[in-house]
Amino acid sequence: MASLKELKGRIGSVKSTQKITKAKQMVAAAKLRRAQAAAEAARPYATQLEKIMGNLASKVTISESSPRLLAGTGKDDVHLLVVCTSDRGLCGGFNANIVKEARLKAQSLEAAGKTVKFYMVGRKGRPVINRFYAGQTVKNYDTSDVKNVGFPEAQEIAADLIAMMEDDKFDVAHLFYSKFKSALVQEPTCQQIIPVAIEMAEGEQPSDNIASVEYEPDEEEILAELLPRNVNTQVFGALLENAASEQGASMTAMDNATRNAGDLINNLTIQYNRSRQAAITTELVEIISGAEAL
């Protein structure tokens, strides 16, 4: 059995670990509220943009001359996976889940004979992807020196993607991030961003009510301007969802860690008291038997 001093030391160290995890949990809870508000505030823009996109895309027929962001390159060989992770750990399975989702997709694509490339956003996903798909990372976008990832970063990433698209570096791009459901639940999500996947809202017949809409300058030009903006918005949305999810995951993980540390301390304290009592009993037995011998 461990000596008294050793036990005391161990209790002390677990206690200070608990303090750290508790502090991290509270920080995450505070940050979560802000990140969640930001994610929610961004939704009206995204929904409006989507609505307009849907309306427009249904009016424009896809042809050779239509923008590549809408029509694609006409091929389906090279897939780019944009994987958004966080820059910091201590958030449970958050990063691992996103990377796992991306790897599953990559495996199924490679099994189908496609070429897979990676575009990494954030620091934590890099080592895993590098290990399994060495040399297939096109770019690492660094967000570690930005405190709150915002629209300017999303714009930069989107501009990068569009430039690569123009250079024929890839045909299809997928975006991986973690969707924020609640502080307890985050869902790793895969979303196709290039070419644009347009989903019509069910039961809506846009062709009737927008037949009379006037376009300034005209449909094609508006669409050409709208498409890059749509990529921006999707990347921005993903970054915000990710930020909220990270804090949520971090909060849950740290809550668990704090509770575990508490259990550990209780067990160690019991063990400590038992060995203390045992030591006292032995000492007493020695004194009494010494006295009796006299």
Binding site: A42, Q48, L56, F151, A154, E216
Partner: protein
């Protein structure tokens, strides 16, 4: 006459959602004013000032916006701006 429902949205947040009398939008092909019951229009916007008239003849409130879209439909006017200052 019923008021015009007007929404100004940026990627970060919903900036304004109000019922107003008239809004003058800096479109790429020229400014245009939108009153309630305006015909459906969709237009790109140049960087410029958005003038909001809360009521007929009132002094306009101006908001500087950068890039984006204006959409007028039966529900009102929606402006998607890249940035607002």
């Amino acid at each position: 006459m019923a008021n015009l429902h007007f929404e100004l949205v940026t990627p970060e947040k919903l900036v304004r959602s109000d019922d107003v009398y008239m809004v003058v939008v800096p479109g790429t092909e020229g400014d245009f004013g939108v009153l309630a019951g305006h015909a459906p229009v969709m237009s790109t916007i140049r960087d410029g000032e958005l003038s909001i008239f809360a009521s007929d003849g009132a002094a306009p409130e101006t908001i500087t916006i950068q890039g984006g879209f204006a959409e007028v439909n039966e529900k009102g006017l929606t402006i998607l701006a890249e940035a607002v200052s």
